[in-house]
Symmetry: C2
Subunit: 379 residues, 2 copies
């Protein structure tokens, strides 16, 4: 047997590049070492000295674009990747973005610049901000809520949904904890609630949670659409972003996709690591087809800072070639009382998601309070 | 419209409980508040004062089991959940484990105690340690490697695979960066490599990476099995743990499943948050059907500590009712030189994954060095 010599490789690459930016935490030598690791780790994962002077070395290994000191312990690093490395597929895009380096502390993805040829692989949200504005005939925010609490019998959930729809709620979603439990069967629930929302004869739509086993996904979607749902709540942290993309791309064009952040907090809460809030809940959510992107608002039950929330909203709405803007949907312990503050902070291109607080007293009156607060903000 | 009064609810629950343990970081009042939040956040996500004195309050809301001070800034908290809340489904188990609380800093899942009725929902690995030991006729460690580097033409990858199989490698997997790139088409690659490994006439099997779009998953699996692959590399951090479970459960019984840790580092690297290494790469990997669980070894390109690596290996092999033990597969910058050290640390129930280092010189000789090191350790 002879030595395993890698033959020099010639690749037919377009020259188009995907650029990713990172905040690296550590002293200069450590940050420099992490930067060098990223170039190799996110591409060939191979001893660089074994790669001949060829297209793999020149084109597949990522290229450094920038390495700037921000503070003595944080660095702004940017690298570009041949667009072909991603192959136009969302799982591999995530893999290049943060796959192996998720296991290295001190790396946070802070920017992603997608070339046109890569963006073209993703249709993005089917509706986005303009689409749902037109559909619901509103120039203000969208009003959204969750059916709660887990354990409530299906007939009572359906009555809640009927009241919410009759009162003018736009998006009525399952609580994200609804799966198929013995006390909350998916099909029984979806059928009853879709019927109740339909009978309420409002503009509102019901979005059941697609938190189902993989084998049941297609039949659950078909059943729900047949039952008359208007969209789905999808949990990309559980089912994968590509599953959300696929649901968005393969369901009828009027199907609304709401993304829920379950499990995704692990990527954003440590400010020295992970993926920046705006990329996770803005850019990636849009690439994966979310019309509405739910995230924890500041001052609620969770800990996102106002700056992070503002960045998410900006990324949801920013121009991104043909990819439609998505509705940022701040949530988590919100109430009708907070609507004016939220609208002042976020502006009208916002999906106001108020859950449990609507059950304090009469549901219809609480929705009316939300609507009055929205109207009051307009004046 | 009348007040929305939640009617007291009667549920027919078994009384079986799932118990989850957490390390909470913060002073006592903060840890106490987080503990109280977990009980509600991971179940009803609803104002507790609105829930009547009923089964939802008594049975659906999680129950505190333990709250002990570890240090003045860390607490050991444990809560039990009605098994029905999970509904026997893996996505919802993950949701209960860390869904919403992933967005709250200072919570790390450190333990999970699954009741028999819940474990019964998951077949676990088809082979596990004994199964693959029998299949490969070895009483020592398994030898595994990855085909590299990205950008290498398929015919050359196939020749690498042929050499590796002929030299006695057991598991020959795609590098996890292989998707479908213009220079590395999935079908072309899988067909050529499976054929080369078959012709080598050894015991080794080829495991292509199933990093494909959701729509292509079934056809990719069918194509690969038809081409003669022996298993799959699955990336649950990208496709979701339930997709891995489904692949394991629905492919022929002799299909070997290797789990790759891409993206999952986000859950483990911050020791004050996320999910403990042993649960992520041990318990959850097994529930999702992994025969082999890859993770970064200490002293390699990544940062896992020896204690974390040992805990992963223990969780891979620990008794878990009918769920077979999985092979811990420490990896990431390993080499034949490190085999004796790894075997001393891990013992023989270990899948030694050596990648790029095998390409230093002659592949066959490097595999022979691995095998010699294994034999030397036995004596």
């Amino acid at each position: 047997m002879t030595d395993t010599v890698l033959e020099p490789t010639q690749l037919d690459l377009s020259g188009e590049r995907l650029t990713i930016s990172y905040q690296l935490t550590g002293g200069e030598p450590q940050a420099r070492a992490i930067a060098d690791q990223i170039l190799v780790e996110q591409t060939i994962e191979f001893p660089l000295d074994l790669v001949p002077d060829d297209d793999i070395r020149a084109e597949i290994v990522a290229k450094e674009v920038r390495f700037d000191e921000l503070t003595p312990s944080t660095y702004d690093f940017s690298a570009s990747f041949a667009v072909e490395v991603v192959g136009g597929q969302l799982p591999q895009l995530l893999n290049v973005l943060f796959g192996n380096i998720s296991m290295v502390p001190g790396i946070r993805v802070t920017g992603i610049d997608l070339p046109t040829s890569l963006l073209a692989c993703f249709p993005g949200p089917q509706h986005g901000i303009d689409g749902l504005r037109e559909r619901f005939g509103t120039d203000g925010p969208l009003l959204a809520t969750a059916l709660k609490p887990m354990g409530t019998p299906v007939p009572q959930l359906a009555e809640f949904a009927r009241s919410l729809a009759a009162a003018g709620m736009h998006l009525i979603k399952d609580d994200h904890s609804f799966a198929t439990q013995p006390f909350c069967d998916f099909r029984e629930r979806v059928k009853a609630i879709a019927q109740a929302v339909g009978e309420a004869n409002g503009d509102g739509i019901y979005l059941p949670s697609l938190n189902v086993p993989v084998e049941d996904l297609t039949s659950a979607i078909d059943f729900a659409l047949e039952a008359g749902v208007g969209g789905f709540l999808v949990l990309p942290g559980l089912c994968g972003f590509d599953t959300m993309r696929s649901i968005s791309a393969t369901t009828p064009v009027d199907t609304v996709i709401m993304a829920h952040p379950a499990m995704l907090g692990a990527f954003v809460t440590d400010e020295t690591s992970g993926i920046a809030h705006d990329i996770m809940f803005g850019t990636l959510a849009r690439l994966a087809g979310a019309d509405v992107s739910i995230y924890p608002n500041f001052g609620g039950r969770f800990s996102f800072a106002p700056a992070a929330c503002a960045a998410i909203a900006t990324a949801c709405r920013a121009p991104l070639e043909h990819i439609r803007p998505a509705w940022p949907s701040p949530a988590g312990g919100m109430s009708p009382e907070r609507v004016p503050e939220m609208l002042e902070f976020y502006g009208p291109d916002t999906c106001l998601l108020v859950g449990g607080a609507l059950y304090r007293g009469d549901i219809g009156k609480q929705v009316a309070r939300m609507r009055a607060a929205v109207e009051g903000t307009k004046r």
